[in-house]
Amino acid sequence: MFSLEGKTALVTGATGGIGGAIARTLHAQGATVTISGTRQEKLDELKAELGERVHAIACNLDDGEAVDALPKQAAEAMGGLDILVANAGITKDGLLMRMKDEDWQQVLKINLESYFRLSRAALRGMMKARHGRIIGITSVVGVMGNPGQANYCASKAGMIGFTKSLAQEVAARGVTANCVAPGFIASPMTDALNDQQREAILSKIPANDLGSGEDIAAAVAYLASDEAHYVTGQTLHVNGGMAMI
């Protein structure tokens, strides 16, 4: 079950913690993957680690034209594009009263606008092929809100609404669109928390543990599979029970 043998996938933010785990998992399930990010040396590292069936294409999501071109470049490299995983994302936190215009615009641009551009470009081939999987990595706070993250939460909530509209437009063509919403995932950032901060976070998570990139990747692999063809417009929450929605 959930084999991705013969499938092709583009993963943005593959140089990061969660994106790297997603790329490894899709690859392990048999997919050919194109990994993307801005840090070339990280891309090279992951490419070398995965060995075969992998392409690396650097792309700065701040550059709209480059984003528009990325799905096509990936499709040309792999001979098609079945699965788009829009995972790259940034935060620029601050209380709303003090939030700068650039911090709002930048977060919306990288997290939400690039998702729109990538999806639009990827759809052309998917519609023709009568098959496709679009998966956006949103966040639990896109649904719950979080003080100090008005820009980030707006971008992540926007991804969910966008995905639902897109899903309705293309459902009859065998293309599905879904989101995966991570809760607290262990990363270099969470490693740096002190015991007290860690306790405070864990007290809100019934599973009493942080999640891993692999937990998110498994959800992505499921949504990317043929078996999930009847699941569309959904947000799959992977958060150890911290929010039950």
């Binding site: 519609m127 023709k128 009859a172």
Partner: protein
Amino acid sequence: MSDVLARVKKIVVEHLDVEEDKVTESASFIDDLGADSLDNVELVMAFEEEFDIEIPDDAAEHIQTVGAAVKFISEKTG
């Protein structure tokens, strides 16, 4: 039969999976050939690709029949 008409017909037949003789110049994509609004968008995009032209949205709205498509494309490529 003009070259444009032949190429438009081919795209329509392939895309909408209809009999070739149904694809007459007066045939409406939606009313006669069973297309939905998404098919119309896809057809316009397929024409753009095939003829290497751009079809703006306001023009695309008026391309509801095979003949209208042929006319628009012929003018653009003419």
